[in-house]
C-alpha cells in the first residue's frame, strides 16, 4: 500500500535540479533551500496563496499560524512506552542534556541577527553569518587573535591566550574566603563602557556582558553551563598538550601557543563530531534513516552544486532545516529541571538566568551548577528526560516576558514565532518536498504511509486538527488548508508523534532525512572524517599536524556525551567538586 502511493505523492510536479532556476524566491545571504529552490508551485501556501509572493496576505498567514499555535497548546495524550519509571510524556531514550546539545549545534550552524518571524520577511537582517558549520565557531569565535575577549591569559608569566575564559560561580549565602570555583562562563560589568548601570548600588554589580563567542550560548542557565563544560574540556586538553611540549627552542613560547591552541581545538572538534555521529544522531533520528547516513561517506541527495560535491566552500544552511525540521528541539524542553542534588528549577527560572535578563543575579549560584549525571546517563544515573517529540511545547516557552507578542495577533511564546518564520521563508510545501525526495530516494518515502499516501496523510492531519476545537477554534477552512499544506515545522512534530514505532521517541523519516542531510553533510565535509578512521587515529593525526609525537595519546575513545563529561571531570579534576559536577 505504502509503496503504491509513492507514485501518488510523486505526481506533484517535481523539480529536479531545474527548480533552482525556476524559482523567483527571495532568499537571504547564508541561507538556501533544501534540494534546490522550490518553484512557486512547490512552495508552502496558506489558503492557497503563496505568502512569499503576496505580502498583502501576511495578515491572514499570521492569523492562521496564531490559531494553529493555539491548537498546539492542547497537551498530547501519549500512549504508554517501555520506560516504566518515566512519565508518559517523557522520552526514556533521550536525556535532557541532548535537548541543549541540539541548541548548541543550532548555534554552530546558524547565526542570524534577527528572527525571521520578528523581521516579518526575508532580507531584513536575516543573514546567516555561519559559514563553517559544526567547527565549534560558536565556542571559539575567531580564535585568540580574532576574539581575544573570550580567551584567558595562559599563566601569570605567559601572556599568550590559548584557554577559554571561565568565571567564578557564586554561593547564595556564604562566599568562601578563598574564592569560588570557576564553574560559570565568564561575565563582566560594562557600566564604564556603556554608561548604563543596571547594578543595585552598594548591593550587587550587574554582570551584563557574557564573555563568550556567541551570546546565544548564554540564553539560559543550562546553555551557559553546557558552554562552560566544553570550555573546561578545551582547557584540560590545553593542559595535557602543554605538559608534553618542548618549548626550549628560541621563540618557543610564541609558536607553541598557537600550536597548542590549534591542537586542542582540533581534538575537541573531533570528539564533538564523534558524539554527534555516534550518540546524538543515533538517538534522535529514525533508525532506518540513521543507518543510511551514519557511515563515513553516505550518499547525499542535497548537494547545492553537484559538480563540486558536498564541499563546504560558500556553505549555506537550508531554510527547511533552520526554520523547519530543526525546530523539533523546542518540543523536547521540559517544564522543570532537577539541576543538581539540591535544586529543582522550573523552566521559567531557567530561561531567565542569563546576563541579559538577570545581570544582578550573576554569576550563577550553586543552585544552577549543573550536575551532569542529571542531564546524561552516567554510571546508571536517572537524568531529567526530554519530552516526547510532538506538536506541543512546555508551558514555560509561552513566557510573555521572554517571548512577548510582537504583532497584531498578540500571541506570546516561542511556538508562534516558529510557525510564522516557517510561513515567511518560502519553503517547500510538505507535499512537494515528499515528492522531490521520492524521486531521489523512493525507498525513504515508501517506508512511511504518512509520507507515501497523501490521502492518508491529509486525513490524519485533518483528524488531529479537528480533535480539540476549544484550542485555537480552527475553522473548517483553517483545517482544510493546514491538513493539505501543513507548515513544515508543525508537520515534522506531527510526523514524530504519529509515526508507528516512533510515537514521539525519535523523529519520523522526513524530519530525519532533512536533519541527516545537513548534519552528516557538514560532518562529511571535514577531511579528517572522510577516511572513516577511528577517533584515536584522528587524534594521532591532529597531534602530528603540530608535533612530532602523539600528545593526545591519553585521550580515550569518546563517543558519547556521558564519556565527554567523565573525561572533563577527570582532566579538570572535578570528580569531587562541590557543588557536584558528575
Amino acid at each position: 500500500m505504502a509503496v503504491q502511493n509513492v507514485a501518488d505523492a510523486s505526481s506533484i510536479r517535481t523539480s529536479g535540479l531545474c527548480a533552482r532556476d525556476a524559482g523567483t524566491a527571495a532568499t537571504a545571504p547564508g541561507f538556501r533551500h533544501f534540494l534546490g529552490t522550490p518553484a512557486p508551485s512547490q512552495r508552502f501556501r496558506a489558503f492557497g496563496i503563496d505568502p512569499l509572493s503576496s505580502p498583502s496576505h501576511h495578515a491572514k498567514l499570521r492569523g492562521l499560524m496564531h490559531r494553529l499555535s493555539r491548537r498546539m497548546d492542547a497537551a498530547i495524550k501519549w500512549p504508554p512506552h517501555q520506560g516504566r519509571s518515566a512519565e508518559h510524556w517523557e522520552n526514556p531514550f533521550i536525556p535532557s542534556g541532548y535537548t541543549y546539545l541540539l541548541q548548541f549545534i543550532a548555534h554552530d550552524l546558524v547565526h542570524s541577527a534577527i528572527p525571521l518571524s520578528v523581521a516579518g520577511g526575508l532580507g531584513r537582517g536575516t543573514t546567516n553569518a555561519r559559514h563553517t558549520p559544526l567547527r565549534l565557531e560558536t565556542l571559539y569565535g575567531s580564535g585568540p587573535v580574532g576574539s581575544p575577549h573570550i580567551y584567558a591569559l595562559d599563566a601569570p608569566n605567559d601572556d599568550r591566550r590559548t584557554k577559554l575564559r571561565l568565571g567564578r560561580m557564586r554561593w547564595k549565602e556564604n562566599e568562601p574566603a578563598t574564592g569560588c570555583p570557576f564553574r560559570d562562563i565568564a561575565r563582566t560589568r560594562a557600566e564604564n563602557v556603556t554608561g548604563i548601570d543596571r547594578s543595585i548600588a552598594g548591593v550587587r554589580v550587574a554582570l551584563t556582558e557574557p564573555l563568550v563567542a556567541d551570546p546565544r550560548n548564554d540564553d539560559h542557565a543550562v546553555m551557559s553551563q553546557l558552554t562552560a563544560l566544553f570550555a573546561l574540556l578545551h582547557n584540560g586538553l590545553v593542559d595535557i598538550i602543554r605538559r608534553q611540549e618542548d618549548n626550549t627552542r628560541p621563540n618557543g613560547r610564541f609558536g607553541a601557543a598557537y600550536k597548542r591552541f590549534l591542537c586542542a581545538r582540533g581534538a575537541l572538534t573531533a570528539i564533538y563530531h564523534n558524539i554527534l555521529r555516534k550518540d546524538l544522531m543515533r538517538r534522535v533520528i529514525h533508525p532506518a534513516i540513521y543507518q543510511a547516513y551514519c557511515s563515513p561517506n553516505p550518499s547525499f541527495i542535497d548537494c547545492p552544486d553537484p559538480a563540486e560535491g558536498c564541499a563546504i566552500g560558500g556553505w549555506e544552511i537550508p531554510f527547511e532545516f533552520s526554520h523547519g525540521a530543526f525546530r523539533f528541539g523546542h518540543a523536547m524542553v521540559r517544564h522543570e529541571y532537577r539541576i543538581n542534588d539540591l535544586s529543582l528549577h522550573d523552566l521559567n527560572n531557567t530561561l531567565e538566568k542569563s546576563s541579559a535578563n538577570d545581570p544582578v543575579n550573576m554569576p550563577l549560584d550553586e543552585t544552577w551548577m549543573v550536575q551532569w549525571s542529571r542531564f546524561f546517563e552516567i554510571n546508571g544515573s536517572r537524568p531529567n528526560l526530554s519530552r516526547r517529540i510532538g506538536p506541543y511545547l512546555s508551558d514555560g516557552l509561552g513566557n510573555d516576558q521572554i517571548f512577548p507578542a510582537f504583532d497584531e495577533t498578540e500571541r506570546v511564546g516561542l511556538l508562534y514565532r516558529d510557525l510564522l518564520g516557517a510561513g515567511l521563508a518560502g519553503m517547500w510545501s510538505v507535499d512537494a518536498l515528499i515528492a522531490e525526495i521520492g524521486q531521489r530516494r523512493p525507498h525513504f518515502v515508501a517506508m512511511s504511509r504518512l509520507l507515501a499516501d497523501r490521502a492518508y496523510r491529509v486525513s490524519q492531519l485533518r483528524e488531529w486538527l479537528a480533535a480539540a476545537p476549544a484550542y485555537g477554534a480552527l475553522s473548517a477552512a483553517d483545517i482544510e488548508t493546514l491538513s493539505n499544506d501543513p507548515p513544515l515545522p508543525f508537520f515534522i512534530l506531527f510526523e514524530a508523534m504519529q509515526q508507528p514505532h516512533a510515537e514521539g521517541l525519535h523523529l519520523g523519516p522526513l524530519g530525519s532525512i532533512i536533519i541527516s542531510e545537513v548534519i552528516f553533510g557538514a560532518l562529511a565535509s571535514d577531511p579528517r572524517l572522510a577516511d572513516g578512521s577511528s577517533l584515536s587515529e584522528r587524534m594521532a593525526g591532529i597531534s602530528r599536524e603540530f608535533y612530532p609525537a602523539n600528545l593526545l595519546q591519553e585521550i580515550p575513545d569518546i563517543s558519547s556525551m556521558a564519556q565527554l563529561v567523565e573525561l572533563t571531570s577527570e582532566i579538570a579534576e572535578l570528580q569531587h567538586a562541590v557543588p557536584a559536577f558528575l
Binding site: K172, E173, H335, L342, L347, N348, G398, N399, E410, A470
Partner: protein, 136 residues
C-alpha cells in the same frame, strides 16, 4: 516522590483571569469569554485562551471554585499531605524555599534568599497569609 504543583508561567495573566472570574469583567481585554469552569478540562482550556501557560499535573481530577463573602470567614485548609510534602522538601539539606518569580521584582531584582533558619517560619507565614487574605 515529590508531589507536582500547578505551575503558572505568566502570573499577571493568571491574576487577571482570576479577577475576570470573580467580577465578570474581562480583565484580559481580549475577545474570549471566561465563564467559571466546571471541569479541569474547561479550566485548562481557559488557561490556554488567556495565554497563562500553566502546567496542570494529571493528579487533578476535579475543580472547585469558592466565592467568598465579606461577612464570612473562609478558611481554605490545604491538604495535609501537601503540607507534609512541602515540609519534607524544606527539610532536605541545602533545599531552598521556592518563591514565584515576581517576588524578585519586589526585592529590587535580586533573587530573594530565605535563610536556612527562616525556611519553616516563612512557610508558616505564607500559609497563614493565603488562608486569610481573601485573595484580594
Amino acid at each position: 516522590m515529590r508531589i507536582e504543583r500547578l505551575q503558572v508561567t505568566n502570573h499577571e495573566r493568571w491574576g487577571k483571569l482570576v479577577k475576570t472570574w470573580a467580577t465578570g469583567t474581562n480583565y484580559l481585554e481580549d475577545d474570549n469569554s471566561y465563564p467559571i469552569p466546571t471541569t479541569v478540562d474547561e479550566f485548562k482550556e481557559q488557561l490556554a485562551k488567556a495565554q497563562v501557560f500553566a502546567t496542570v499535573p494529571d493528579r487533578f481530577k476535579h475543580i472547585k471554585f469558592v466565592s467568598q463573602e465579606q461577612d464570612t470567614i473562609t478558611v481554605k485548609l490545604p491538604p495535609k499531605v501537601m503540607i507534609e510534602d512541602s515540609e519534607a522538601l524544606l527539610s532536605e539539606p541545602g533545599s531552598t524555599y521556592p518563591l514565584p518569580p515576581f517576588y524578585k521584582r519586589l526585592f529590587n531584582g535580586i533573587d530573594p534568599v530565605i535563610p536556612e533558619e527562616e525556611k519553616f517560619k516563612v512557610h508558616a507565614e505564607r500559609i497563614g497569609d493565603y488562608t486569610l487574605s481573601l485573595c484580594a
